[in-house]
Amino acid sequence: MRSVIEIEGLEKVYRSGVRRRNIHALDGLDLSVAENEIFGFLGPNGAGKTTTLKILTGLLFQTSGTARVLGKAAGDLSTKAQMGFLPESPHFYEYLTSRELLDFYCRLFRIHKASRRKKVDELLASVGLEHAADLRVRKHSQGMKQRLGIAQSLVGNPKVLLLDEPMSGLDPMGRRQIREMIRKLASDGMTIFFSSHILSDAELLCDRVGILVKGRLVDVGKMADILKPRMGLFEAIASGVDGACRERLEGICKRVALRDDRLHLEISGEDNLREAERAIIEAGGVLDSLSRMRTTLEDHFMEFLKPDEAAK
């Protein structure tokens, strides 16, 4: 499959401040995103996600390395015509209404007057802002600005969409709406590259994720591989057991926690599982649920941050 985004050895050094302290925001980043993929770009604060997206959209220039979008150098005019971008917590002209603003962006794409109005209405509806069409941006809530930001990223019917924290500031319903929208866009053939801190959303959406730490990609992998069940690890919930049984279980299980009168158990190995089952039944308790433990994206993410934390 064709690569839509290709990044090789990307470095960015910010020179700033009175003392000219250099900040290495990106330190040899390599990454490629295939056509029609939903790619989640994850990483802790200050990892360099926004910096990467700004280079891809031609707002910043890299110190070294290459960044290509749709086969052309980042920032190329013909690439920008096929690209949509949502900046991190976007800001717009506050003196315009949602409708005026989208109309303005349509003009930047040379969309003809006849089709502009219809296009703007469609965009407003697609992000659930119809009711705020004639409200000045000054009076928008955070989430409304975020929705407007997503609408403006879609103005040019892009082939590739770059979103910097698309879910931030949205209510649960908004997040769900945007998730569904992203899925629909991807099923229509769009390539989507987004950064996020909301791992549960990334988990639900992405085909692939990459984890960025201190300007380097420390891991990249398919969601299906990351979320595979962990061999020989079980999760169980038991109720109706007494203190003595709990003590016995603590000897068997990896972890025992009491929540709402029920015991939450983490068990490793099938032998231990059997023994735990026996202990519960002998104590007259009930095994409410039992399942294999799965890795969550959060577990996976944390694994890559641990060595970093330890170093501190």
């Binding site: 959209t57 031609g58 220039f61 920008k80």
Partner: protein, 254 residues
């Protein structure tokens, strides 16, 4: 069309920023001046009001060029509105040209209205207006376009306050540039000589746009020097916009 959209939007922005409130002040100045000097003879009073009117048109337009011009680009970066614009399929120089043209459009409309008030007050005082008066105001406009260009240029690399200071200094020195040349040529010091020349050729010669004396005292404006001044002014503006674009083209928008 993309540049036009940016231009129109800049115009709209300045309108919503209430730049046109300047007009109210201007109207007050015109009304007051024709009251205050009414004890003078009609001819003298007319001259004073003309002088004052042309001066105010100049100063108020200069204030807009200075204060709006220096924030034009900086505000877009500072308020981060530039991200969703430069990432659209436009070239950065189109952004610069659009912003520049938009502000010049605002100043044009503003000056046209001021000129309207001005003509009205002259007419009310029993004076008559001439083509030369209009040409004089046209040249003030060309001068202000140049000043807007300076403000734009400085603001591509300096903060608004610093840009305003630079622009104002250049404005003052630009009016003195012929004098600077003259005095530096008188000097024995070779360094002063060279600096004088460099400044003379680098700084805009703004005295070329000043035809106020001719108009107020009723002399004819020499058409060839007027034409030369317009061409000079427009070329200088083009140069300022090109250099601003080149700087902005390479700027990291962070």
């Amino acid at each position: 069309m993309r540049t036009w959209a940016l231009c129109l939007n800049t115009f709209r922005e300045t309108v919503r920023d209430k730049v046109f409130l300047v007009l109210v002040v201007f109207a007050l100045v015109m009304i007051m001046s024709s009251r205050i000097f009414s004890f003078l003879s009609v001819g003298l009073e007319l001259k004073i009001v003309m002088d004052l009117g042309l001066g105010s048109i100049s100063v108020f337009s200069l204030l807009i060029a200075l204060f709006v011009g220096t924030t034009l680009v900086h505000k877009e970066i500072d308020k981060r509105t530039v991200y969703t614009i430069v990432s659209k399929p436009i070239r950065r120089y189109q952004f610069i040209i659009g912003k520049y043209a938009g502000l010049n459009m605002t100043i044009l409309v503003n000056m046209a209205i001021m000129t309207g008030f001005f003509y009205l007050s002259i007419w009310l005082m029993g004076g008559s207006w001439s083509l030369d008066l209009g040409l004089c105001i046209l040249l003030i406009y060309v001068e202000i376009m140049l000043v807007t260009g300076l403000a734009l240029l400085f603001s591509t690399f300096a903060s608004p306050t610093l840009s305003a200071v630079f622009t104002f200094l250049t404005y003052v020195l630009g009016h003195l540039s012929s004098d600077l040349k003259f005095f530096s040529e008188q000097s024995e010091n070779i360094i002063v000589n060279i600096f004088g020349k460099v400044f003379y050729y680098l700084l805009p010669n703004l005295s070329k746009f000043n035809f106020k004396n001719e108009v107020v005292h009723g002399f004819a404006i020499p058409m060839d020097s007027l034409f030369y001044s317009i061409v000079y002014g427009l070329l200088y503006c083009a140069l300022l916009v090109i250099v601003s674009s080149l700087i902005f083209e390479r700027k990291n928008l962070r």
